[in-house]
Amino acid sequence: MIGTISYLVFFATTASILAIAVLGLNLQWGNTGLFNGGVVAFFGAGAYGTLILGGTPQDGHLGGYGLFYPLALLGGMIAAGLMAWVVGLLTLRLRHDYLAIATFGVAVAFENLMRNAEWLAGGAKGVRGFERPLRDALGDGFLYNIAFFFTVLIILIAVYLFLERLVASPFGRLLRAIREDEEAAASLGKTPSRIRLTAFITGSVILGLAGGLYGTFYAFVSPQDVLPTLTFQIWAMLIVGGAGNNRGAVFGAFLIWGAWTASGWALSRFAPIEAQLYTGSMQFVLIGVVIVGMLMWRPQGLLPERLVVSQRGSKE
């Protein structure tokens, strides 16, 4: 029993962290129409930033600043935001598919940098020596995981409420206007370039927050955590859940992470012995099929962007 609950807590923690990341991407793509193909780079900046700032002294690479945990997490978010600022200034002039290609390239460069620059973050060995906060008080077991899960859940709810308010504000209206037509928005005196950059940085800071929590949860991050696969997983969550809808983003995160976990279990259990080596690849194929299938049959996602209700009753 405790084993099942323990596993569910582990599952829900990971899904909640990913849900925060999907919310960040939703601000960029769902609300503003920015095709960030390098999600994992900003997620990774948050994870690496948090662990480097909050970890114990390490030989051979940056780190060991041992900052108070909330400051380390904030530092990770700032690292992601700074990276978004630089990447944004360089690439936000690009549109749609070109922006996707450019940001995808940034993510690949980030992974390669982390893999090769040992002085920076330990190279392929990754960043170690991070003490999870409050470990002395809560220990390493079930209690800790429960406490951490609720912390993540509270952060998820806070991010959700923040974004809901943002979307309903005049700024949110402006984001959707820019998503539809920049030229028309500019002709009303708006500055699309600045607004796009603001949305890109804000979304990336949220991605960095998710990355920081992820790094905290595992107390370790390596280049294996910032592979393009994670970008595609987070995208699949948003597309399946419903781009433009924050509830859809959270729902998609739990659904896809559930499907990912279940498929992993099922493949390991039922795939023939000789195919066991390839079950990981089969899961990637599955994610691809889910994305393509959704885009073909229900491009608006399971919970589509909410429509406005007219005074005279439902419309559309």
């Binding site: 005049p170 209206r173 402006l174 959707r176 206007a177 998503r179 539809e180 037509d181 030229e183 028309a184 928005a185 500019a186 002709s187 009303l188 005196g189 708006k190 500055t191 699309p192 962007e305 429509l307 406005v308 209700v309 007219s310 005074q311 419309k315 559309e316």
Partner: protein, 251 residues
């Protein structure tokens, strides 16, 4: 500018002088085009396909680079203006397509345009909606549900929300029925009575010429003829060459 200068010799609202512009460098579409738009008038630009009509309006709106010439609004140089600075200069641009935000409600569209435009936004929104009863009825509906004519009205209402002195309209009748075209153009005419000036590009020559004050005919990116719209309409040679000859007479 001193006040006496204004009184003794009123400057035109918009003065375009020898403008050369195009979408890519070294391949100009406009070759030294000049034009004047007076206050409270509708200035019409017509010409065959590819004449550079829309290009001219986009050059004025700062959407394409101007490589030579000058554009001045009340003698202030606005040649290299950025599109998002237009509103601050009192210029509103109504693009031909995609001039409204379909996923926002009509009210949200207007609020977007009214924000930071000064004054009491709610009162100004109410005044705009009063001008366009069709929009008033549907203000909580998505703009994407509007008919073609209603969309143009919304686009015009959004342009008016920025309190412009000059509205640049790029083919407001494109894709509209003749009845809707007449409604939109009539409304444009009424706006000039309130002191707004309009620079209008139209394919619908016969209807547009009837309500325009002054008309410029462009072809191949150059000025061809210009004059009071009523005179040009009656000019046989002009009609034959630029306005489609007999078809014009039949209309």
């Amino acid at each position: 500018m001193p006040i006496w200068a204004h009184r003794s010799m009123p400057d035109p609202l918009l003065q375009v002088t020898g403008v050369t512009a195009g979408y890519v460098p070294d391949l100009p579409i406009l070759h030294g085009v000049s034009l004047t738009a007076e206050r409270g008038q509708i200035t019409l630009i017509i010409g065959p396909n590819g004449a550079g009509k829309s290009t001219l309006i986009k050059a004025i709106a700062g959407l394409i680079p101007v490589s030579a010439g000058r554009i001045a609004l009340e003698q202030q140089d606005v040649t290299h203006i950025r599109p998002d600075q237009l509103a601050a200069h009192g210029i509103a641009y109504v693009p031909q397509n995609d001039n409204i935000f379909r996923s926002l409600t009509i009210r949200q569209n207007l609020d977007l345009a009214l924000r930071r435009a000064g004054g009491d936004a709610t009162a100004r929104r109410d005044r705009l909606l009063a001008q366009f009863p069709a929009l008033d009825e549907k203000q909580r509906d998505k703009a994407g549900t509007l008919s073609g004519g209603q969309r143009q009205f919304l686009a015009i209402a959004m342009a008016l929300a920025t309190a412009p002195r000059l509205i640049l309209m790029d083919e407001p009748s494109a894709g509209l029925s003749p009845k809707a075209t007449a409604e939109v153009l009539d409304h444009a005419r009424r706006l000039t009575a309130d002191g707004v000036s309009i620079l209008l590009v139209e394919q619908n020559v016969s209807q547009a010429m009837k309500l325009a004050d002054h008309c410029y005919i462009l072809a191949e990116g150059r000025n061809q003829v210009d004059g009071p719209a009523a005179e040009l309409m009656g000019d046989k040679v002009v009609g034959e060459i630029y306005l489609g000859g007999r078809r014009m007479g039949a209309a």
